[in-house]
């Protein structure tokens, strides 16, 4: 089980969190302007690295706030986080 550093509540068990996948994605500013390929990319393509991965977590059983962490997917070691 992961020990996840919630920036508000401190390190807590993984079971208290909901996963949000890749961090740093934003809704396209002008969706109408996207080609089918670009829209498909936005909907379906996510990074899937073996190594450092910036991802979202939500402290569902705690403060219920979203935050980002960087985790190494080859070891599950969490290297850092931010609100």
């Amino acid at each position: 089980m992961l020990l996840i550093p919630c920036p508000w509540c401190g390190p807590r068990d993984e079971a208290e969190f909901r996963y949000g996948g890749q961090a740093g994605l934003s809704y396209p500013s002008d969706p109408e302007a996207l080609s089918d390929e670009q829209w498909g990319d936005y909907l379906f393509m996510r990074d899937n690295p073996k190594g450092d991965f910036a991802e979202r977590w939500m402290h569902a059983a705690g403060c219920r706030r979203w935050f980002d962490v960087v985790r190494d997917t080859s070891s599950d070691e969490i290297r850092g986080g931010s609100g």
Partner: protein, 418 residues
């Protein structure tokens, strides 16, 4: 469990007892080049190599594997075989696979302990009931055996399921595919390996891909490996959870996320469970191995990971549900748990076929349910490789569907318990 096959269980056992002198495949040294290099000696890769040789006469083939043969998800799955998927495209490919399973022991002359003991999919609420009945009708329209059982029929078919109305997860009925069942996964890998080897296919273990050889116009013309450069006219990935890592070496981005998927076995027990029981709603799927262990699968861990380890709260959640459904399991003791890495697509369906990179083909995204597809997947992938165009059953599974939007949404029939 003994069949009339050259490599029946007794032969395997006798060989082990005598120190394991027999070899199902040669430990090949990689040559400098092949017509086709298949990356990944799991079930899908080995089946692909076997059918390339058997169906298409293409024998200048290597299957390269970074670890040992059948040591990835092929050794980690819960061995469930069925074809009762909802959509026509899925029904077609999984039923093709099931039909191949039904003749596989004869075709490969190998006892793989294929057992059509029936697969129950339980329904716990009215939504489940409606979608399950819809799936039964869809299956029948596609020529796939499917039945709807009411709770008393469920009890009759599987006496240890708790069907009392007061249960936490009341059983309102179940679908039954009698032709579904299980097979011994290791033996399936060995059987395909032996079959491919006999056609002259080289199986090269402990040979990890570190990059791709690029030829004219950027086409893939081989692989760089920890055992040297291997040239190839076609490189065909069959690498499951690590497909994204390989594809990225060729500059190819895929709609895959790699997750841990856990399973476990109990200690050896007397026979108590004569069929496969699945419950998507409560994330339990269970059968009993011939040796006696209860074999149970959990749901995926939510986060991406390549560690082949999952969190224990997933196991705990699954055990709580299993004991509700099967009160007798409370007496069982856990023997071991493990994890594999599964590559999950947004629509819970695989990706099979050509890629924007010439010379590179993919067969991936089988997610939590690839084992049942092993022969069918190998069959259509081999045909796709041999002819340079998708096999008709693979056509709907092209990468392009994530641009066109023609998804094959099998979350309902596949869900977590694929």
């Amino acid at each position: 469990m003994e069949g009339p096959y050259a490599y029946a269980s007794t032969a395997v056992k006798a060989d082990w007892m005598s120190g394991g002198s027999a070899r199902y495949w040669r430990a090949a040294e990689p040559k400098s080049g092949y017509d086709v290099v298949v990356v990944g000696a799991g079930g899908h890769g080995l089946a692909t190599a076997y059918y390339l040789a058997q169906n298409h006469g293409i024998t200048d083939v290597a299957v390269i594997e970074k670890g040992w043969l059948g040591g990835g998800n092929m050794a980690r799955n819960t061995t469930v075989i069925r074809s009762n998927y909802l959509w026509d495209e899925s029904a077609a490919i999984y039923e093709h696979s099931l039909k191949l399973w039904e003749g596989l022991e004869e075709a490969l002359d190998f006892d793989i302990q294929f057992s059509q003991r029936g697969v129950l999919n339980l329904a716990h609420d009215l939504g489940d009931v409606r979608t399950s009945m819809r799936r039964v009708h869809a299956n029948r329209l596609n020529g796939i055996d499917a039945e709807w059982l009411d709770p008393s029929q469920v009890k009759e078919f599987c006496p240890i399921v708790n069907v009392s109305p007061g249960a936490r997860y009341p059983v309102l009925g179940a679908t039954l595919q009698r032709r579904g069942g299980v097979a011994r996964h290791d033996k399936v890998a060995w059987a395909f390996a032996r079959g491919a080897d006999r056609h002259g296919v080289d199986i090269v273990e402990h040979c990890e891909v570190t990059g791709f050889v690029r030829g004219d116009g950027g086409r893939v013309a081989g692989v760089e490996t920890t055992r040297g450069t291997i040239h190839a006219n076609t490189v065909a990935l069959a690498a499951a959870g690590h497909t994204s890592v390989l594809a990225s070496m060729a500059g190819l981005r895929l709609p895959l996320q790699s997750h841990p998927l856990q399973a476990l076995v109990s200690v050896l027990l007397e026979p108590v469970l004569g069929c496969v029981v699945m419950s998507n709603a409560v994330h339990v799927y269970v059968s009993q191995a011939d040796k006696g262990e209860l074999v149970m699968g959990a749901g995926i861990d939510a986060h991406n990971s390549y560690t082949q380890r999952g969190a224990f709260h997933i196991i705990e959640h699954q055990m709580a549900a299993a004991i509700e459904l099967f009160p007798v399991f409370a007496h069982a003791r856990l023997l071991r748990t493990w994890g594999g890495i599964v590559d999950v697509c947004p629509d819970a369906s695989p990706i099979i076929g050509l890629t924007p990179v010439d010379g590179l083909l993919i067969n991936c995204g089988w997610g939590t349910g690839g084992f049942k597809a092993t022969p069918g997947s190998g069959w259509v992938y081999a045909d796709t490789i041999a002819n340079g165009r998708p096999h008709p059953l693979a056509e709907p599974y092209a990468l392009e569907r994530f641009t066109t939007g023609a998804l094959i949404d099998e979350h309902g029939a596949a869900a977590v318990a694929h």
